[in-house]
Amino acid sequence: MTLAGHYTYFVTILLLMVGLFVVIARSNLIKKLVGLGLFQTAVYLLYIAPGKLIGGAAPIVAEGVQVYSNPLPHVLILTAIVVGVATLALGLALVVRIKEAYGSIEEEEILQRDVDDESSANDRA
């Protein structure tokens, strides 16, 4: 095992960190979702890469094939992708609603508007 032999892990970790950074650092709600997507994608890689055997065939029983790749990670990740898509769709739908309600998709502006609302409500009270 060499360092290069683990390169998929490094890519995974890099993607994870990039994704998480975007989620935390960006104020734009869409960009946050993009970051979240990256973050999830990194995990797909974590599962898929070790499942592939070099020289392994697709897991279909056939003449003369001895080595198969592990199909289970693929199946799992297929599920995870579905979950990821659903999350993304819901996230985007929420952003649309937020845009309608606040007229902005910048997190700071939105929070500021809530603060303003609260202080004006207190003034009235």
Binding site: L16, L29, F39, L76, V83, G91, I98, Y102, D114
Partner: protein, 506 residues
């Protein structure tokens, strides 16, 4: 082990399929509700489904307690570890019972409670989501498969995001969005954790995994998996300091949703944590080799105090209760961190008692919000006079939060403190007591506002909440008192569950 033979009589067959039915019933009710679309019909279906789920959960709990073992159910008759299996023991049967019980309390309440907060044409979606959420939570509890936990976690989470976003206020949207981000990060971290475990053991079946891990000894991969799972699940638990999504989510979601979530969602995640710590990794790995107990203890103590202090300064009672939830979660994790039967009993007992208490409080508060138009303390002034029953019920719930004897909260405190003392951790007893004093302060903020201030002139509440909201709320408050006076049943089940957890699935 169940053994599905075609020759078995139909009624036995049905009782053998209880585990899967518990997940299927709410799951199937959701599309049915979407097809029906009418508000009343969808409520009716949801109501029937949740009552059925409760009945099944109760039967299942009874079966488990009677058999004193594990009920394993192979889905589609594919034997584990190839197939996905449902595995029920005293722990998850009890938590499933709690979740289903809360469902039965919340649904009748929804009928009017939701009308004020959600648009009429969206009611069917609301009920569909509630049922999906229930299905997801029950699924997490029953499944014996690591990845399946993730799938059900996401089913319940996605449904939860939608439910929160249905709140009356636009801030609900932001709260939902924030929860979506943090919840997804948490779930993804959990998936990384099980990915590592899968790479290590080659199995996703929790029982199988536990067996293979027990021979591995202390390796770094296990530690990494433990860390990822702990952090990921802690996000869903809202363990301090990962609780930031919770106050807004509880505060701005519809009242019925606040009640349902507060009583169930975090509890189910706590179950997941316990399952991994005690069944999969084993208490030895978690507590002796990696000293997770100390970290959990420190976080629990922080949770017991810091959010409780924050709660004192809240002006919105829903947020106050939400921060109180974060603080109460600290009690549960404190019990887990002790790693003993006593500590786990305390944790599980508090799981139950706090679900009752917080559920009751949010239900009562929902009625108050309906009448007062908000949960801000200014609006609640004088409700001791205008809504005497609701105010009094809230005070009883608050007493249970504090842990006054005669309420469910006291039972938890009893178990927790005696468990700490039995371990020789006397100072922990003092910490728990100090933290309950903070609860006295935040509960008394409500009392003083409700009873010492005159009702505001511009917002005269018209009286008590409608009957369909009042009855479930009062029943739940009654349950708080009942299980505070006679905790023989809940205490014994909690003890059995704790023992089962420590024994594991081998």
């Amino acid at each position: 082990m169940t053994n599905l033979q075609p020759t078995i009589a139909p009624d036995t067959l049905l009782t053998q399929h209880l585990p899967i039915l518990l997940v299927i019933v709410p799951l199937l009710s959701a599309p049915l509700i979407v097809l029906l679309r009418r508000s009343f019909l969808s409520w009716l279906v949801a109501m029937i489904a949740s009552v059925a789920a409760f009945g099944i959960a109760a039967l299942l709990l009874q079966q488990v307690l009677a058999s004193d073992g594990v009920i394993a159910y192979a889905i589609g008759n594919w034997e584990a570890p190839l197939g996905i299996e449902l595995r029920v023991d005293a722990v998850n049967a009890f938590v499933a019972f709690i979740v289903a019980l809360v469902g039965v309390f919340v649904l009748p309440y929804c009928r009017i409670g939701i009308a004020a907060e959600v648009r009429q044409e969206e009611h069917y979606l609301f009920y569909a989501m509630l049922m999906l959420c229930l299905c997801g939570l029950l699924g997490i509890l029953l499944t014996g498969d690591a990845f399946n936990v993730f799938v059900f976690l996401e089913i319940s989470s996605l449904a939860t995001y939608v439910l929160i976003a249905m709140g009356r206020d636009r801030r609900a949207l932001v709260a939902s969005y924030q929860y979506l981000l943090m919840g997804t990060v948490g779930a993804t971290l959990y998936v990384i954790g099980i990915g590592i475990l899968y790479l290590q053991t080659g199995t996703l079946n929790l029982a199988d995994m536990a067996q293979r891990l027990s021979g591995v000894g202390d390796v770094r991969a296990t530690l990494a998996a433990l860390a990822f799972i702990t952090v990921g699940v802690s996000l869903k638990i809202a363990l301090f300091p990962l609780h930031l999504w919770l106050p807004n989510a509880y505060a701005y979601s519809p009242s019925a949703v606040s009640a349902f979530l507060a009583a169930t969602a975090t509890k189910v995640s706590i179950y997941v944590l316990m399952r991994y710590y005690f069944t999969v990794f084993g208490a030895v790995t978690v507590f002796d080799a990696h000293n997770t107990g100390m970290i959990l203890l420190a976080l629990s103590l922080a949770a017991m105090f810091i959010p409780a202090v924050v709660a004192i300064f809240q002006r919105d009672v829903k947020r106050l209760l939400a921060y109180s939830s974060v603080s109460q979660i600290g009690y549960i994790t404190l019990g887990i961190s002790l790693g003993t039967v006593g500590g786990l009993t305390a944790a599980i007992a508090h799981l139950f008692n706090h679900a009752l208490t917080k559920g009751a409080l949010f239900l009562v508060l929902g009625g108050i919000v309906l009448r007062c138009g908000g949960a801000n303390l200014d609006r609640l002034a004088g409700i001791g006079r205008t809504m005497p029953v609701a105010a009094f019920a809230f005070v009883i719930g608050g007493l249970s939060l504090i842990g006054i004897p005669g309420t469910a909260g006291f039972i938890s405190k009893w178990y927790l403190v005696t468990a700490a003392m039995a371990e020789g951790q006397w100072w922990l007893a003092g910490a728990v007591m100090m933290s309950s004093l903070l609860a006295v302060i935040y509960v008394w903020r409500f009392v003083e506002v409700a009873y010492f201030q005159a009702p505001p002139d511009d917002h005269p509440p018209v009286g008590e909440a409608p009957l369909s909201m009042r009855v479930p709320a009062l029943l739940m408050v009654g349950a708080c008192v009942y299980f505070g006076l006679d905790a023989t049943w809940s205490g014994e089940v909690a003890t059995r569950a704790a023992t089962a957890l420590l024994e594991g699935w081998q």
